[in-house]
Point group: C2
Chain length 103, copies 2
């Protein structure tokens, strides 16, 4: 549940969201997108929690891997539905991880 | 609950954790650290959720602001207790936010 990532540098996409009241298909799509992301070239790991606000941080080898994932056709349809149905607000932040430590 | 942050670049500290079974003082300290962080120079905002894994992302103006916060004496004591009591595992990732978008 905590991602195992390589030595920095690598990239993080921090996706923060507040859900709408529309549930139709959301849980299935969220699960499908996690599985699909994990198959993409350059995917390094993901961490996700929702407690009111939802935070999903996915880790990627480089900006090209993030761009390719954003452009994935099935992901684009999920983004479209997310924008119009499932999310009241969201922010996407793309960040370069410079250092990492922990236990 | 979604942080309002300025135009990039700025920095993110992604703190991901798994709690131990020790609760003593944890909730109070977590709340105190959020309030104390918000008083620090260069603090831009914070987002936090726990659902099994805990993810707290704090946003900062620059690496100097992050270094000063890490060295804050009251925060150092919280880090020490976190390391020894409250967290089974944690990762801290320091990242430079390069772009941001959303609704």
């Amino acid at each position: 549940m905590i991602a195992t990532t390589p030595e920095p540098p690598y990239y993080a996409v921090i996706f923060t969201s507040l859900r709408s009241e529309v549930d139709a298909g959301y849980a299935e799509m969220a699960e499908r997108m996690l599985a699909l992301a994990a198959e993409q070239p350059g995917f390094l790991g993901v961490e996700s929690a929702r407690e009111g606000v939802g935070i999903t941080v996915s880790y990627w080898r480089d900006p090209e891997a993030i761009r390719a994932w954003k452009a994935n056709l099935e992901h684009r349809e999920a983004q479209r539905l997310g924008h119009h149905q499932w999310y009241r607000h969201f922010r996407v932040r793309v960040a370069r991880v410079e250092r990492e430590y922990g236990i």
